[in-house]
Symmetry: C2
């Protein structure tokens, strides 16, 4: 069915039903000038936005629309997780290409809705327009943390331990396998990870509640880039143990088959959406809570925070070298698939 056959208000009505979910934090959802959300009385409000643009962040050749919907919300939820927060509600701003059918929009919203329900983040409003060119999808989320409890990039202190949830390399492996149209079965986990990433809201909430997390950031532009951001914002240096950074088994296999260095899958794999964070040394050493949590949410110790003059260094086979990997630069030459969070 074509969009003009049902018109704008009927489309909005369908989408409204597609994303419907109960939530006692939503006093008023889609359908008014703005949504009304109820935060806890003792909370700070967090606000974030992230956009996905056709031809820049995604290619519909290999991205199912349902996955696109999931991902658009998931990447924003990852930012909420990285602040140590929980979501209150999201708005979806979308420009729909004229060539799309009603079913295409509904598929996208099915993915959005599935992600919204999985992570309990109701879709409370939006803006639906046509696009003369590609699809543009921008989501904003309002969330909350306890008063003065948000975890920032700037809190790392010299001597802190640098930790990472999960494994690296899967997203890059998934993207490359999709582009090369190969190994759909053999690299299934990686492809899924690239298409429908899991925001680490649960890990974040567990860590924050039990440990004095001093700084945190999510891995969206690649680990190297995030380590640099965290160090810059905290005005510290850092020494990273390359071999302690876990890489997924599929990424190891893929790198080998492709004759590519594994380090690139460790440091330059964007869109992993794991959490990079720091803890005071005494919260790690001989601390049972840390070790129990580290197991349950798979945390690895990957380095330590140093004085700023040391810069960001990598320990690789007993040698120490300055970090020489780069993240995405949106307006750099050559242009790359990604954008810059401000």
């Amino acid at each position: 069915m074509r969009l003009y056959q049902i018109g704008e208000f009927s489309l909005i009505d369908r989408l409204r039903k597609a994303v419907q979910m109960r939530s006692n934090q939503v006093l008023l959802g889609i359908g008014d000038d703005a949504a009304v959300l109820r935060a806890h009385p003792q909370s700070d409000i967090i606000l974030t936005t992230d956009a996905l643009i056709e031809g820049v962040h995604f290619d519909l050749e290999y991205t199912p629309l349902e996955s696109l919907g999931w991902k658009a919300l998931a990447v924003n939820l990852s930012d909420i997780a990285a602040m140590g927060g929980s979501p209150l509600g999201a708005t979806v701003s979308i420009a729909i290409p004229d060539r799309w059918r009603v079913e295409d929009v509904e598929n996208l919203y099915a993915g959005l809705s599935r992600c919204a329900k999985t992570f309990r983040c109701p879709i409370v409003g939006g803006d639906t327009s046509r696009s003369l060119d590609g699809c543009f999808l921008s989501i904003a989320i309002a969330g909350e943390t306890g008063l003065d409890q948000s975890v920032r990039r700037s809190g790392a202190r010299v001597g802190d331990i640098l930790c990472l949830t999960g494994e690296m390399g899967g997203a890059k492996t998934g993207l490359e396998a999709l582009i090369q149209r190969t190994g759909k079965r053999r690299f299934k986990k990686s492809i899924r990870r690239f298409l429908e990433p899991i925001p680490r809201l649960e890990a974040s909430s567990l860590l924050i509640r039990r440990l004095p997390v001093s700084s945190m950031i999510d891995v969206s532009d690649g680990l190297a880039s995030e380590i640099q951001h965290l160090c810059m914002e905290s005005d510290v240096g850092c020494s990273v143990d390359e071999e302690r950074i876990p890489v997924s088994s599929e990424a190891i296999r893929w790198a080998k088959e492709q004759h590519k260095p594994l380090s690139s899958y460790r440091f330059e794999s964007g869109e992993e959406y794991e959490l990079l964070f720091t803890l005071p040394r005494k919260a790690v050493e001989k601390n049972r809570i840390f070790h129990r949590l580290a197991q349950s949410v798979s945390v690895s110790i990957i380095g330590e925070i140093t004085v700023p003059s040391r810069g960001v260094q990598i320990r690789r086979r007993k040698k120490t070298v300055p970090m020489d990997f780069h993240g995405w630069n949106h307006f750099g030459k050559p242009s790359s698939l990604k954008s810059g969070k401000s």
Copy 2:
């Protein structure tokens, strides 16, 4: 200067400086995974988003970039006003065409920043990407109202009085004058109104504080369309006195010169960003507060709420006719300049 010459992070740094302002409700602004805002302890959070898309909502042939920046924020602030709220902070999601120069982006942000400062709505974050085609600009605002104090579209009751701030027709006049490249001086006010609309935050705040406003909506798609929305959401009918709807003097002159019916400027002028609202009859009749406020924020009584079976009717030269004007339908045929808020 070209964007690739300074790169993404240097661009973000410039934009961050361009929008810098002090606000004690911003605990953490641009530069982390999310912004942290402090609401009043007894408040509900409101969240809204609205996008402007090149070729759909604006044409750079006649829209200066600085005005585009202003307008993108102003239309979102108008939604906050329509809920009876005040803004806490805004995020800006932008896809920048490759052909733009650094100065173009800075001009747009100068307008954004001017609007942000005028209405005390700090820009607290965003997402900056490239666009392969046109510019896409989506803003989200988090705001607040007192607990259970938000004013909705659904609160109008039979017997309520229908009121409107300001005058209609200016925005349509301004757009048409811009498209026809005529009367830049003679229709200066209208052009300014179209390019840099004023969100009615002050009027909203005054009205809410002093009067029992039962429902409210902002006029973004044209008065006829908003009256229909308000009646539909409140499940009521309405009788509108056409001649009591004020039209700007420039619109009267323009309609005459263009040999167009004035009623179209009353009812079908989109993007006016005035407030349409209802009050219980007893809050209006013989009420000094109403009459004083009506003068200070220019409120006109334009009709009254009736039973739903009456539908939306217009009183025109002593006759009563059903309302036959239409607002924007984004995916309708033929396609029109505008989008649909959900």
